[in-house]
Amino acid sequence: MTFVRPTFRHPESPKNALGYTKKFYEGALSTLCAGCGHDSVSGAIIQACFEMAIEPHKVAKLSGIGCSSKTPTYFLANSHGFNSVHGRMPSVATGANLANRDLLYLGVSGDGDSASIGMGQFVHAIRRNLNVTYIIMNNGCYGLTKGQDSATADVGSVSKAGVPNMYAAIDMAGLALELGATFVARSFSGDKEQLIPLIKAGMSHPGFALIDVISPCVTFNNNPGSTKSYDYTREHIETTGAVDFVPLMTEITTQYDAGNSVTVPLHDGSVIQLSKLAKDWNPLDRHSAMNRLYEAKTTGEVLTGLIFIDTHTPDLHGILKTVDKPLNQLTESDLCPGNEALEKINAGFR
């Protein structure tokens, strides 16, 4: 268990635009190990949703199986949650999203869940540009079964068991870029300053938003020799630039260096502000993003931040040309053609 949460709340805790305090966005007490990176990610989700003044019941949180997939219990208690089967969250999220396009979908997965057993579903959800914020809590190991290497563990990385990993690592962000993902970000559970605006931006992005979060496993993969430990990540982190998310109707107050920053308007009117960008890198250009990511990989950097964004590609509903009204709200009169039409169909079969 991570911590014991005091039940006392200051009566004058800050409230968001909906009049809710942050407590309203919390969930049940976490049962993950103390210091688990995943709890920080849960905290960031709570903070992001609170600050964005999202109605929790308008969010559906879905997950697969594993430590990461337990976390939806620990945030947004007033949202419906769905802890599905191992590696299959993307398909469940696809169905849920098709049923009601008006909700926000938050998919939470891990490196075992997405990079191994669920690789097929992960890949195809990206191809369809499913409108979901897809957070991978990436710790390079299978925590819930006691620390086996996962498919995102780097070659030579040593877990608590002491045996160096022998297989090539799958880079989820690089893979997503290759597959045509329309929002690709990487972050670190220990960097809330960066993670919170990324989650906000992802939730505002009208398509598949991948946030691959390095989230160390304190119990099985936080030892010297591991490339997914707190220490290693802190030492090798390299940000693409500062990320700020500016919600709809808010004045941009921060000063950004001209020529060294990009403003990305989103469809709902909010903007993502990126500043202090590296040279020769443009987050709106897939080619340049792939180059930058590959470069970081070869030099051993853990590149974080918003790596790529494309706000123009239609999401799955756009591709399938579904009606604006959520499909789950259509009734008999919308859906049933009636017996007269059936009589005509019968006539064609005689």
Binding site: E55, P56, H57, K58, A60, L62, P72, T73, A77, N78, S79, H80, G81, F82, N83, S84, V85, R88, P90, S91, V92, A93, T94, G95, A96, L98, A99, N100, D102, L103, G120, Q121, V123, H124, R128, L316, H317, L320, K321, T322, V323, D324, L327, N328, L330, T331, E332, D334, L335, C336, P337, G338, N339, A341, L342, E343, I345, N346, F349, R350
Partner: protein, 623 residues
């Protein structure tokens, strides 16, 4: 040599090459007979191949309305040299072998007990048509024309079908007429027409229609308000997904915006397909998938989740020959146990067994109501025979006053006015069915965590033994409730009259009913029950209890349905005699009759046994 003679009672088989356009000509043949008011039952016997391999089309014509398959080929129309030796061998003595004699038949292919009718189809088309593709396609129409002369198909009926099929393409209509006429004239000039086997117009099909079960299921889903279809291509269910798409595009597009009131996802595999279905149903949209046995195997894990987490799910299983890849283009009823108990742990699923296209339509629509009422997976168990063949069927009907049964779903108002704490898995009504909430309904009430892990009445994770047992027992209670909702069996006698009876389901129905009549002609009478659903309700149990011995007819090796009856109703196995057919071909009445007869030996009166030893010879005339 004598000829077989019969009016409106014989079997014609066509031997073609896959991918040569024969299907369309063969369909016209069957449709013309149907339109002459004569019951007809065509079956495709096709390979797992797109082009080049042998394919057959078998049409049983039965004035009496026997729609099951019948053994024995009376007329073979062979335009495939690859399969010719086997095709010749399969003709009944005194039957007819119609073939393309552009090339002379090899002497070793000549039998002296069948009639050969050579029509130079290829040559005629070579002479008449310039386009090579047309030559090939129209060859099929030449034999249709020859058959028209040989067995008395009404030519205007065929012409009308051509007109309809090629509406607006006058050149094609003319070419088809021409090809058909060539065959017709050739037969008239060279052979004594009609043959001993011929047709006569009747009025025996009433207002019935002819369609394949997959189309009927697809239509049923459209009418039932399904909005999300997720599927993965697999024979023999693919045409079901296609049919849903076709009719949804016709009937479900907003005329003003051109937007779709449906979504179809061709998933990456069957696992994803059922995942999408579960996600959509969880979120309040009616959703379904169509697959076959291998797909159901893959979907097991998710079916267990839907059962345990209590999420409505509709799956249509168009069964084919198993196990493994098995016989992908042949029919079987061999997914019964797989479907009934799909997934690990203690699970049971509701199954429906349609036996006609009309029931495919009705049961698919019912499946959505049942799934939402019972909050559980419902599997519609059809098969290749029903799904992919044009079956005669009563017309489809939709009651315009029918409202969808969306089951127990709490609205925002109901949640708002709820004084007590909401419990997703609380049995408040005593029927084992708890109340659902759909995501997004109420800001502070009704949210819960759906999970495949054990939980208490309030959807909170628990590993407490008593809470787990309470939940599992409630699911059993729900199962008992399901018995009241699923369709009961059909009986074919007003009152049970015999100590022995026969039980069947799905596509064994026609053959079983015909077998019952054949046996009755021999003096052996049996009561009959057709089961339409699992769980078995009390009527099924009573019928079994009332009889001393029961023949359970099914199309798989292991008598799976019998096992299910024994397991669920605690029937003495000795009482249930398996009657089986599992060679991939639809079961025949004669197979059933013989197996039952064999089982009854020793119990029969001498007169019946003599009758079997020397059955009346078939009618025939000397030439």
């Amino acid at each position: 040599m004598p000829h077989l003679t019969a009016i409106n009672d014989f079997v014609v088989r066509f031997a073609n090459v896959n991918g040569t356009g024969s299907a369309s000509a063969n369909d016209m043949f069957a449709k013309a007979i149907f339109r002459m008011g004569i019951p007809v039952s065509p079956k495709n016997i096709f390979p797992s191949n797109i082009q080049g391999l042998p394919t057959w089309y078998e049409v049983r014509i039965s004035e009496k309305g026997y729609l099951g398959r019948r053994e024995g080929i009376d007329i073979m129309v062979c335009v495939n040299p690859q399969s010719m030796p086997k095709d010749i061998a399969s003709v009944k003595p005194k039957g007819y072998f119609i073939y393309d004699n552009t090339k002379e038949l090899h002497k070793e292919f000549l039998r002296d007990d069948i009639h050969y009718i050579g029509v130079p189809m290829t040559q005629m088309c070579m002479d008449k048509f310039a386009d090579p593709r047309q030559r090939q396609l129209l060859k099929n129409m030449v034999y249709v024309g020859a058959l028209a002369a040989l067995i008395d198909i009404e030519v205007p009926v065929l012409q009308e079908i051509i007109n309809l099929k090629f509406k607006g393409k006058e050149k094609l209509v003319a070419a088809n007429y021409e090809a058909m006429d060539m065959g017709y004239q050739y037969a008239k000039e060279h052979f004594k027409c009609p043959l001993g086997l011929r047709l006569e117009r009747r009025d025996n099909v009433g207002n019935w229609i002819m369609l394949d079960g997959n189309t009927a299921c697809g239509l049923g889903a459209v009418y039932a308000g399904a909005t999300v279809l997720a599927w993965y291509p697999i024979t023999p269910s693919t045409s079901l997904a296609d049919a849903f798409g076709k009719y949804a595009k016709k009937l479900r597009v907003d005329p003003e915006t051109g937007q779709n009131k449906f979504a179809i996802v061709q998933a990456e595999d069957e696992l994803a397909a059922i995942g999408v279905v579960i996600g959509a149903n969880w979120n309040g949209a009616r959703s379904f998938t169509a697959t076959s046995g291998p797909g159901v195997s893959l979907m097991n894990e998710f079916l267990g989740l839907a059962y345990f987490a209590e999420i409505p799910t509709v799956l249509i299983d168009v069964q084919r020959g198993g196990p493994s890849t098995g016989m992908p283009t042949r029919t079987q009823q061999s997914d019964i146990l797989l479907a009934a108990y799909a997934s690990h742990g203690d699970t049971k699923h509701v199954l429906l067994f349609p036996s006609t296209p009309k029931e495919c339509f009705d049961f698919t629509a019912d499946a959505f109501d049942l799934a939402e009422r019972l909050q559980t997976p419902v599997l519609v168990m059809t098969d290749l025979d029903l799904g992919m063949n044009e079956n005669m069927s009563p017309p489809l009907h939709w009651d315009d006053n029918r409202a969808y049964d969306r089951g127990k779903v709490l609205t925002a108002d109901a949640l708002e006015n709820m004084a007590e704490r909401y419990g997703r898995y609380l049995d408040v009504d005593g029927d084992g069915i708890p109340w659902r909430t759909i995501p997004g309904t109420h800001p502070t009430k009704g949210s819960f965590f759906t999970r495949g892990t054990s939980r208490d009445e309030y959807a909170a994770y628990t590993e407490e033994g008593p809470a787990y047992v309470r939940n599992m027992d409630r699911l059993v209670k729900k199962w008992e409730t399901a018995k009241e909702y699923v369709p009961g069996p059909e009986f074919y006698q007003k009152k049970n009259q015999n100590a022995f009876g026969v039980i069947f389901f799905g596509t064994t129905t026609y053959a079983a009913l015909e077998a019952q009549e054949l046996l009755a002609e021999q003096g052996i009478t049996l009561d009959a029950m057709r089961v339409k659903a699992f769980p078995f309700n009390d009527e099924v149990n009573k019928f079994i209890k009332k009889h001393e011995r029961l023949y359970v007819v099914e199309q798989n090796r292991d008598a799976q349905f019998r096992t299910l009856l024994i397991n669920e109703l605690e029937v003495n196995p000795a009482k249930l005699v398996p009657i089986l057919n599992y060679d991939g071909f639809p079961i025949t009445a004669e197979t059933i009759r013989q197996q039952i007869y064999k089982n009854l030996l020793g119990k029969l009166t001498p007169a019946i046994v003599e009758h079997e030893a020397a059955p009346p010879s078939e009618s025939e005339v000397e030439e």
